[in-house]
Amino acid sequence: MITPTHYMLLSAALFIIGVVGVLVRRNIIIIFMSIELILNAVNINLVALSNQLQNQVGQVFAIFVIAVAAAEAAVGLGIILAFYRNKETVNIDEMNLMRW
């Protein structure tokens, strides 16, 4: 029997993988992708609970999360491009100036 706890554990594990990606990797594109993983972990939770409660509100929120992720990706990648144009790098350890 698969209970919401199973989904929560899966979600927690996915969340942590994302967190590790954010903390450990230095390529900013990979870090962004790790953030997407984290958002997906949240979505799994929302949808699983929505299924458990027989209430679609969780799915509505999952859709909002996807919308926010799209916005985040657009702006974030815009920043990456602008940054790359100036510094020719996507390594966050080299992004140590507030302005140039």
Binding site: M1, I2, P4, H6, L9, L10, A12, L14, F15, I16, I17, G18, V19, V20, G21, L23, V24, R25, R26, N27, I29, I30, M33, E36, N40, I44, V47, A48, L49, S50, Q52, L53, Q54, N55, Q56, V57, Q59, I63, F64, I66, A67, V68, A69, A70, A71, A73, A74, V75, L77, G78, I79, I80, L81, Y84, R85, E88, V90, N91, D93, N96
Partner: protein, 170 residues
Amino acid sequence: MGDAIAFYTLAAFILGFAILVISTRDTVHSILFLVLDFLFVAALYVLLGAEFVAVIQVLVYAGGIVVLYLFVVMLVNLKRPPEVYQDPNRRTRMGYALAGAVLVELAAIATWGYVTPPPPAAAPSAMPVTGNTEQVGWLLYTSYLIPFEVASMLLLVAMIGAIVLAKREL
């Protein structure tokens, strides 16, 4: 039984690909694994009876957002590997340790903190429509109309922001 097999298979794929996403050296491979990961998450949504979210997951995440990532990776054709330089003050092990601590905490909460929820509220039955897509749509355009509009505004702002950031000369 079938549910359990499906869940464990999907969970294994989701976690496996997630680990590959953050561990692969080549960014493009990483993006490919991310797409696969999202597809399996979508399959999980189908398993949970949320077809609409599943399709949106594939359409927006796999078909839209990740293509954007791929686009950016191809635009920044790097002359040197992106991760050769490491900040001397970086504490990678600390990162692992912190993440592990959070995992333990989350797992503990999920396992012992989860209380069986009260029986479903009366809200769903008040909906005049049946079917997953219709219900999600109904909620989006009634109870959650304002958040929906805010989200669309956010997307608009993000779009303008992305154009301003990425375009060289306006």
